[in-house]
Structures are given as structure tokens and as C-alpha cells.
């Protein structure tokens, strides 16, 4: 029997009970062969929240076997779309019921403000589950005319099978929902490895999966180090598909492991260095608002962060001044402080990483417009930092920083802007601001990114597909497209009348 720890909620007398075991077959259990634990931190205070069980390679085996059994007996083709819909809707209802508690836990572990976690992360996650619940009984195949006299050709969209899902720490609950919802709607079973940095809400959500009534093994949760659990899932011979969101470097390893093991299907949502272009016809104040959102939302820890900003030379100085003002208005502070619009970065590791980039930017000669100085108080805080007068070869311009650090450059012509924007191995998102409709169309056509925002940034919807071009990913999440990532099409050719002449 594994433990439950009580985690105190700041500014209140309450605490949140968090199970610390591995969630397999609808029970929290210890590791079968290991005593390893993972320390879970509060990035606002730098202190340990608790320790949880770390899954070993053997535990992954157990989890996969459990999900395989469920797929063969109580899930997969053994459950109707209507029933899957009902269960996913029930899960959504439970998450909505517990939104405040989940938001507090998310904030304690990840650092984001409680109100943002509750109203945005969790609100959108509930919507995501309900959206895919609606699809569960609407996944149709086709009947296709071939030879009308004697044959019928039909396609069955079948669930792929047992899916390993590996999610990151920047939106723990929301990334969980984006993965879980379409996979369950289609009828797949899941072995979920949350980030070892932010495993707590995934464990709490596992309680709700059981409460909603999902059969044991449909969703197993195995927090572990990427090098252990992530590797084990991607190499596993009995996992049919792996879905990963995280860094491009790790994405490569996952794909390599998939190829070397059993050629399991792979979908990847990786990094970005998304360009944000402001043309001279843009509404400057609005564009500055969106640009600030684009780099500061979630303290810049967003794969779609608009981290390279290119401003047309005719408005460059004016825009930069307005933007710097906007950046300073955001209060980055403790997640339980009502005034906070953003929190600390998630961990010591990330904190060091981001500061290394800031130092590199200074060394390379970029001009610091605002920020760039460490705080002296506890917590992994990084304040909004804007670099101007950048050149394409700078590290801060080429590499994904994953913090509230913006690089601002200048362009003269539209073609130059497009060339600068596309000059990256990434292709996740891009934004542009212009009141010239033809320009908006031309530029959005030319930009090499999976999501283009025109006169806005960052806003996603559960029913619109999302994913990367180039090295930002393979496959799409959200929208109807996400279902295809979990479907394997079987074509059935039914001969009901043709007789074959032999020999040919």
C-alpha cells in the first residue's frame, strides 16, 4: 500500500491529499522492484513538497501489461463509443468539481498563478475532454464503391492499442487532457508518464479516472525519470504508439527508440522559436499587448512562445518603447498572490538554463531593453527580459530558451521579414500584425509554421488542430485531427459474389 501525503495550501488551513504511489489497475501501488523516489519541489520557495515513487523499467512492464489486458477485454473494441463518451464526460465533470484543489496543487508544483491554472489551464482542459467526449461515438469509417456488382469495401477506424504518453511540466494538467482525451475517445488504453518535475496533478487526476468509472488498466500513471520511464515506453515491444510533448532533443531519442524497437507509431510536439512579425500598418498598442502575451504567458514556458520579434523599421523604436512598458506591467510573483500574472520558472534546472541564455545574450552584444538582472529573494524567478539589436547568429536568436526572454530584430521589406521568420529549424507557430488583408494572406501562406496567428497570439481552441512543421513535430493535436493520431485504419474488402478464374 503506497502513501498519501498532505500538502499544505498557503494562506489557508487546508491541505491537499496526494497519493504518491504508481497508479496501475486503478490502485496506487509501490514499485515492484525499486525503492527509488523522486523529490518534488515548489519553485516559488525552492523547498521540497514531497517524495513520490519513481517507476522502474519493471514497473513500466507491469503498467503496459495492464493496459494491454484492458485493451483486449474491457476497452478497445469491447466498449461502445457512447460509453466512452459518457465516461470522458464524467471525468470532465469531476475535474470541474475539483478545479480549485487541482489549481492549487498545480500552482504549488509548477508555480503558475492559481487563478490562471483554474480559469485557463483547467477550464480549457475540461472543455477539451468534453470536446473529445463528443467525438467518441462519431468516428466513422467509409464505404467505398469499387466493383458494384460483387464487392463491398469498407474502412474501420480502429484504435491503435496501448499508447505511451509522455508529457511535459509547463502545462501539466492541460497537456494531460490534450493527450488523454482523444486517445480515450478513440478507444486506446494509456500508460501515462507525467514529467518528473510536475507529477502531482497527474496523480490526483488518476483518482478521478477511477472515480469516473474507467475500467482498471485503461489509464495507468507511472511518474519516472525520462531516461527510465520515457525510454522504457519508447523501447517497449508491446506499446503500439508513443505520443510525446517536450524538447526536440528528446523527441529525436523517442523516434529513434521507436524505430529500433517495434516501429511503434510516433507523434511529437516539440520545441519552437516562433517568430512574431509587426508590420507598420499594425495597431501598435494592440500588437504590443499580443507580443507581451506571446513571450510572457506562462513565464515564457510555452512551446509556441513568440520569442523572436521582428518589427518593421519604420515603427521599430516606437514599438520597442511601448512593448518594454507592457512587459514591466506584468507582475511575476507567487502563485497564491492574487496580483500575480505569472509565476517562477519551474525548477532550478530551468532557472540556470534561462540565466545562461541571458548571459550569452549580453556577451553576444545584444542590447538589454529591460530585465536581465537576477532577484536576490528565494524562488526561481526570472523577470521579463527584452534583447534588442539582435543578429541571426546569436544563441538567443537560434535556440529555444523557454523563459520570459525576447529577442527583437528589425526588418525593412515583407520578404525580408518572411526570410528572417523562416530561418529556423523549428516550425511550430508564428504571429503577424497587419491591417492589410492581402499582406496577412500572403505572409501567412509563406510562413513555415503549423499555427499562424493573425493580429493575435497564443490563443488556441480545442476544436482547431495544432502542431509543428519541420523539427517542431510530427502529427497534430486538438481538433478532429488528433483522433487520427490514435486511429489505425483497417480496410475490409468483402467479396460476396466474384468467382476467381484459375489459372490466370
Amino acid at each position: 500500500m503506497a502513501n498519501v501525503v498532505q500538502i499544505a495550501v498557503p494562506k489557508s488551513n487546508s491541505s491537499i491529499a496526494v497519493p504518491t504511489g504508481l497508479f496501475i489497475d486503478n490502485e496506487f501501488v509501490p514499485s515492484v522492484d525499486s525503492k527509488e523516489t523522486i523529490k518534488v519541489f515548489n519553485p516559488a520557495t525552492e523547498s521540497v513538497l514531497c517524495e513520490i515513487t519513481a517507476a522502474s523499467e519493471k514497473d513500466i512492464d507491469v503498467a503496459v501489461a495492464s493496459s494491454r489486458k484492458a485493451f483486449r477485454t474491457t476497452w478497445g473494441k469491447n466498449v461502445t463509443g457512447v460509453e466512452r463518451s459518457r465516461l470522458i464526460n464524467k471525468l470532465a465533470d469531476l475535474i470541474e468539481r475539483d478545479a480549485q484543489t487541482l489549481a492549487e496543487l498545480e500552482s504549488l508544483n509548477n508555480g503558475k498563478p492559481v487563478k490562471v491554472a483554474r480559469d485557463f489551464d483547467i477550464g480549457d482542459s475540461v472543455g477539451c475532454l468534453r470536446y473529445y467526449a463528443g467525438w467518441a461515438d462519431k468516428i466513422t469509417g467509409e464505404s467505398i464503391e469499387i466493383d458494384r456488382k460483387t464487392k463491398v469495401a469498407i474502412t474501420h477506424p480502429e484504435p491503435i492499442g496501448v499508447c505511451g504518453q509522455i508529457i511535459p511540466w509547463n502545462y501539466p494538467i492541460q497537456m494531460w487532457a490534450w493527450k488523454v482525451a482523444p486517445a480515450l475517445a478513440v478507444g486506446c488504453t494509456i500508460v501515462m508518464k507525467p514529467s518528473e518535475i510536475t507529477p502531482l496533478t497527474a496523480l490526483k487526476l488518476s483518482e478521478l479516472v477511477k472515480e469516473a468509472g474507467f475500467p482498471p488498466g485503461v489509464l495507468n500513471t507511472v511518474p519516472s525519470l525520462g531516461s527510465v520511464g520515457g525510454a522504457a515506453l519508447s523501447l517497449h515491444k508491446d506499446v503500439d504508439k508513443v505520443a510525446f510533448t517536450g524538447s526536440t532533443i528528446t523527441g529525436r531519442k523517442i523516434m529513434e527508440a521507436a524505430a529500433k524497437s517495434n516501429l511503434k507509431k510516433v507523434s511529437l510536439e516539440l520545441g519552437g522559436k516562433s517568430p512574431h512579425i509587426v508590420f507598420e500598418s499594425a495597431d501598435i498598442d494592440q500588437a504590443a499587448n499580443w507580443a507581451a502575451l506571446g513571450i510572457l504567458y506562462n513565464t515564457g514556458q510555452d512551446c509556441t512562445a513568440g520569442s523572436r520579434l521582428y518589427v518593421q523599421d519604420t515603427i521599430y523604436d516606437k514599438f520597442l518603447a511601448v512593448l518594454a512598458g507592457k512587459a514591466k506591467e506584468l507582475i511575476i510573483g507567487d502563485g497564491f498572490d492574487e496580483k500575480s500574472g505569472g509565476g517562477p520558472v519551474v525548477s532550478k534546472g530551468q532557472y540556470d538554463r534561462v540565466w545562461n541564455y541571458i548571459e550569452a545574450g549580453k556577451k553576444a552584444g545584444a542590447r538589454v531593453v529591460c530585465g536581465g538582472e537576477k532577484r536576490s529573494t528565494p524562488g526561481y524567478y526570472v523577470d521579463a527580459t527584452i534583447f534588442a539589436d539582435i543578429t541571426a547568429d546569436m544563441k538567443i536568436v537560434q535556440e529555444e530558451i523557454f523563459g520570459p526572454v525576447l529577442s527583437v530584430g528589425k526588418f525593412h521589406t515583407e520578404d525580408e521579414a518572411i526570410a528572417l521568420a523562416n530561418d529556423t529549424t523549428y516550425g511550430l507557430a508564428a504571429g503577424l500584425h497587419s491591417t492589410d488583408a492581402a499582406q496577412c494572406h500572403r505572409v501567412s501562406e509563406a510562413l513555415e509554421a503549423g499555427t499562424i496567428w493573425i493580429n493575435q497570439y497564443n490563443l488556441l481552441y480545442n476544436n482547431v488542430p495544432f502542431g509543428g512543421k519541420k523539427q517542431s513535430g510530427i502529427g497534430r493535436e486538438l481538433g478532429r485531427n488528433a483522433l487520427d493520431e490514435y486511429i489505425s485504419v483497417k480496410a475490409v474488402h468483402w467479396n460476396y459474389g466474384e468467382k476467381l478464374d484459375w489459372p490466370l
Partner: protein, 501 residues
Amino acid sequence: MSTTTFYHEFNTPGYKGKVSFPTGVFINGKFSAGGDRTTIDVINPTNGKVITKVAEGTPADVDRAVKAAKRAFHESWGLSVPGAERGKLLARLADLMDEHFNELAALEALDNGKTYSWARAADLPLSVGTIRYYAGWADKIHGQVIETSEDKLAYTRHEPFGVVGQIIPWNFPLTMMSMKLGPALATGNAIVLKPSEFTPLTALRMCSLINEAGFPPGTVNVVVGYGHTVGVAISEHMLIDKVSFTGSTLVGRKIMEAAAKSNLKNVTLELGGKSPNIIFNDAELESAVKWASHGIFYNHGQACSAGSRIFVQSGIYDSFLKAFTEKALSLKLGDPFDTDSYQGPQVSQAQYDRIMDYIDSGKKQGAKVHVGGERHGNEGYWIQPTIFTETKPEMRIVQEEIFGPVGVVIKFEDEADVLRQANDTLYGLAAAVFTNDITRGIQFAHKLEAGTVWVNCVNHMHPNVPFGGYKQSGVGRELGEYALNNYTNVKAVHVNLGHTI
């Protein structure tokens, strides 16, 4: 303007409970008296007595309803409400229907005469399931983006029509309402709905649930009235952009004519049928008998898709007829609220008279009453399950839709001949084939001129599988994704981004 209200206490073996709800004309979220302040008697088909009086809607009420619907469509509904929110309201309505499951089933049984058991086993699950199914579609109404040239953006939108008129029958009142409301609301339309004047109670109960679910006032308006007044007003209305009707082929023609003469409103029709049920020698006999019985006696034969012409191949004819007769005789006719009743009364005096008239014509034209053919009991509208044999194709009971528990059993030998006979009808709603030879089953399914073909089953429907008629059985499809097309108008948007002339 105060409203009529229905108070009733159920004290039956099947259901006990009190109901109380307004039964006025429901416009803009409020109940009121009808325009002429007249009422319609709702009759209990078990004894011909008045259950209650409901407000009678008039053409003036239809006008008011259309105005309310138009305003709701422009101000508080339509595409200004995101699909996810429309879906949420529909899901809430389904939840409320679930909460009042037994009450709705009891009202349906009381008003229509079907048994409380069947209402719970079939009508309610299909009704709730249909609303829940369309709740899931609401935020998934996609248009297309179409490649044309570099300097143009071309895309389509699937926009709601606006105000749609819906006219539903009395055989499955709540299910028919759900089949109409679901896709229309999911796609963003506002509705003026006329329930059958014979069976308005569940529709009126739904109005209160629609308010409770949170639909903006005017989104759904319900006007109980007569076909020749309210029905005509809807089909002729110049501000209603689309009418959807389920009922007889005769009335369906009138609706289409009125639509053509008024404003060419879009029309979908679900009409009658004389559906063939073909049973081959190699059919699994016991199963075929059960399904054949379900095909014609389910809902007292008051189903548009009833398998009313039963073709039986000569090799099993005698054994089939024997077993089918036993089955028919085993069906228990009784009070709708007795837990062991299979069949209640027909819905009304008029229907009773119609069916008995057909039975008479069968007898007069020389067909043999193999079983049944008489009234059951001496009050209310019960008719015995009836089987005719030794019929000729030109007989009225073979050609015309009876809409009662009256089946004709016809012997056949040759495949080509039975296919010809099965298709030899103006109707084309459904058909069924019973055979162990799946090759033959599929071949027949493909050759039968019907919108639904059942192989080794009959009258078995699902919210996500489309349903509708070939030939004079209808225009358009309900249920499934296909129904969404009935309620959306395609707009193609061409944005010129550089093409000069």
C-alpha cells in the same frame, strides 16, 4: 394571459408520481393561452376520456413564435453562441431528460397509449441518446477551405438557416421531438415546433426542461395546434426558412406545395412506408419470427418503418406462419401501465376507425384473416394483432399504409420475383431481409429501393445511423451526421487577395 396547466397523479403498477406543468402555448420562454383562447382536449386512448385541456395555438401564435425565434436567432442564439456552448445546453437538456426519465415515459404512455415498459425501454433511451449525440456535434460543424488560386482565399461556412419550422407526429412524440431539436439546435437554428394535437404532453413537459437547461428564450417555441391551422401557417410562413415534417405522405405533399408557393423554403420530409420484410428458406426461423413480429406489431404497428408486407419463401412458409401466428397470439394486450402488457390501444378513435376500415376492406376484397381482425375489449382503441394471408397485390391492405398491427404474409418462391414485388410500391422507407446466406443478404440490401435495409433484423435504430426514405417515403435523412445537412445552409466565401480585372 394565464396558461393551462396539467396536474396528474399516477397511481399505477408501473409508475407512481405526481406531475404538474404548464401546457400553454410556449413562446419566448413563456407559457400563455392561445390566440383565440381555445383549448384542445387530450384524450386517453384507453377509455376515450379527456385527460386534460391544453391551449390551442393559432396562426397568430405562429407569427408571434416566428418573431420570437427570429429575434433569438439574431441576438442570443445562432453563430453568436459558440458551438461548445450550444453543445453544453443540449447536454444539460439530456441530463434533465434523464432526471425525469420515468416521468416522461409515464406521460408518453398516458398520452399515446404505448406501454410504460416500452416507453422506458425504447422511446426514452433513443430520445435522450439523440439529444446527447447532437450535443457532441455542436462545435464540430466544419466548412471547407478550397484551393483555387494564389490570390484568393475560398472557404465554405455551414450556417444555420435561421428560423426552422418542425411538425412532428403522434407515434413517437418525444423521440420525434428529440430527432428534430437535436440537429437543429446543434447547428444554431431557432425553432417553431408543432407537436401533434393528439399527443402534446411530453412536448409541453420538454418546454419547461428547455427553460431549465438555460436555452435563451425564443430559441425553441412550441405551438400545439391543428394541421390545417398551425401546420399550414408554418409551411406557408414567409419568415420561416426551412420546414421539417414527419407524418403521412398525403400531408407531406401539402407541406412541399405550401413551401413552393410561399417562399421556397427548404423542405425535409419523413413520410410513410409499406416496408417489405423478406424471409428466405435458410433464415433462422425462430429469430425471423421474433423480428417479423417486432417489425409489424411493435408500437401497435404505428411505425413508419413497419415491416408490413412479410414475404416468406415457400419452403418455410407453413412453419413460419404457424410460429408467427403463435407469436401474435402470445402478445398481451392490456393497460399501458400493467407491467406485463406488450400492446396498448391505438392512439385515437380516428386511427382505430381507419385501421378497422382497412381490415374490413381486406375481408371484403377476399383476403383471409389468419389471426386477429377484431377489436380487443369494449372501451378504448385496442385492436388485435392481425395477420392476413392469401392476398393479391392490388388489394388495399397490400398497397396502402395501414399504420396498425396488421401484417400481410405473402408466399414467394423466386428471388427475382420477390425483389420485384418488394420494390413494387410508391414507398421506399425501409426493408428487411432474413437469410443465412450473407451474400444474398448484401445483394438484396443493395437492390432494395429503401433508405434503410435491415439484414437479419427489423426496426432497430441508433442515433448515429441515418434514417430516411427513397421515393415517396421522404426527402432527406434524419439521425447521424447526415441530419446536420438538413439544418445548415452552405455559404461560399471568396476573398479576393489580389486578382485584378
